[in-house]
């Protein structure tokens, strides 16, 4: 169980990126974290995985706990060892390494050779296309294959919690569907908890149990996935649906006011 308790994050000690963010990821759940660009979603993930330090960021207030350990001052290495893996935004592959070496490096913190071998087969089972490409240099893979590879690479660490940062980025809708189906399977079959950051709110809420909406560094809304899917504001701002039948000018005004309330 992961718990963020009122955390505040600064970059370079002056740029306030998160103010009072609290959220929970219960064991075995899929939690969606939604919001527009710059809302602080990725910052929240980096605060959890410890990667903030690579960008001169730090949690200045509040705390992050995972399975009874306080992790907000830990080195990323030790956080990975506790079972949290972040799959970073934008498919950060090792392009000169082969697909199989990319996957193997995912198991870096582990020493149980026999089980690693089994997990490699398991990863190929989830992503059969990678098996055919195993000796290929990773840089030559297509975007979708690369995204599958980095998720597989994360899986190779046998995480208790996976932080996925925009797995749908730049992919064709049909591929997005395929990848999200696999994420759902991983959650169901391996029991891996998943914290999912997405711009694509529709697909994220379709597999998530619970969701949080962020704006300008704060959580502005949270609830079950069903509740969020039916929420008027979420519908309008994130799902691109709006109530029909209202006059345009009135709706614009209402939209503006509602938006303003959110951003405050």
């Amino acid at each position: 169980m992961l718990k963020l308790d009122n955390i505040r994050v600064f970059y370079h000690e002056v740029i306030l990126a998160l103010r009072q963010v609290s959220l929970e990821v219960p064991d075995g759940s899929i939690i969606a974290l939604l919001g527009s660009n710059g809302a602080g979603k990725s910052t929240a993930l980096k605060a959890i995985s410890g990667l903030l330090i690579t960008e001169a960021g730090a949690v200045s207030e509040g705390s992050i706990h995972f399975d009874g350990h306080r992790i907000d001052r830990m080195e990323p290495v030790n956080i990975v060892r506790l079972g949290i893996i972040q799959v970073m935004e934008g498919r950060r592959i090792f392009q000169h390494l082969t697909v199989e070496d990319n996957l193997k490096i995912g198991a870096y913190v582990r020493n149980d050779r026999a089980q690693i071998k089994k997990d490699l087969d398991l990863t190929y089972e989830y992503f059969p296309v990678l098996k055919d490409l195993r000796r290929q240099t990773a840089g030559f893979l297509s975007g979708g294959e690369q995204q599958m590879m980095v998720i597989g690479r994360g899986l190779m660490s046998r995480p208790k919690l996976m932080l996925l940062d925009e797995p749908s980025l730049g992919l064709a809708p049909v591929l997005v569907k395929e990848i999200f189906d696999i994420i759902k399977r991983i959650n169901a079959e391996e029991g891996t908890s998943i914290l999912l950051v997405e711009q694509n709110a529709k697909i994220a809420l379709s597999i998530a149990h619970h969701g949080y909406v962020m704006e300008t560094g704060r959580v502005v809304l949270e609830g079950s996935a069903d509740m969020l899917q039916n929420n008027e504001d979420v519908k309008e701002f994130y799902l691109g649906l709006s109530t029909a039948g209202e006059t345009k000018s009135y709706r614009d005004l209402k939209h503006y006011r509602r938006r303003k309330r959110w951003m405050a």
Binding site: S49, T54, V77, V80, F94, H96, L97, D101, I105, T137
Partner: protein, 295 residues
Amino acid sequence: MTDFLQLLLMGILVGGVYSQIAVGFVVIFKAGKTFNLAYGEMVMLGAYISWTAMDQWDLAKPVALLVTLVFAITLGLVVERLLLRRMTSAPIHTMIMLTLGLAGVLRGLVLVVWGPDPHAYPDIVPTGTVNLGDIMLPTNFIVSFFIAIAFVALLSLFFQYTKAGLSMRAASEDKVAAQSLGISVKRIYQLSWVTASIIAALGGILLAGISGVNLGLAFMGLMTLSVVILGGIDSILGALLAGILMGVATKMAEGYLERIESLKGIGEIFPMMLTLVVLLIRPHGLLGQKTVERV
């Protein structure tokens, strides 16, 4: 013809040692994307330490080698911990200037401790020559060559197949992604400096066996920078190829071009000229990695 073959073979033998030394640059560059300009001095120190252990302290040769190894590991650890660790987020040219400063300090230290006089190096391997018809090859050159090549082969196996090697390659491509998988970048830097320091010390021993112990070893060590640039700065195989090419080019230039009175000394700069021409044609060096990109 005999002349030509003699020069060719000597060039290859010397080139093997160049390659072995050059690999140290590759290791540092792969890990930190920086050049270590104190590398020549580290090579020289390896030679001086092993010479002192054998010649001054009268230690048995294997023990002397062990002493040198321990010294090299310590040097790598200390330099990384005291200097480079503080610079991990500094711009690359800051790190390069730092290693330039270190070069000066180490050279000064050698002068203070050992003085400027050259010394003869004890024979680690049997002396003599191997005669192939009219071609005469010194045994120590041959042995040095094979030691150097074996070492380079071992090193490339290390990078290809071991977990530590794989993690070093991964970290050299994307440090943040490597960290996200639990690879400690600090450990990678440490490992790369220790590895490079060991390579330098071994190179110092091999070079000293060929040309004796003197301050010029630092220059010879640094000269291999042009070898790695020629080979492609991040490729071990490239360093191997370029080292041998460079050895042959140097010997040929010394053998043929220096017969012309006005070209005396061209052997020393010929490799650089060669590097320049190759870079004009292949900016990534012979085997340097281009950024892989799908078209």
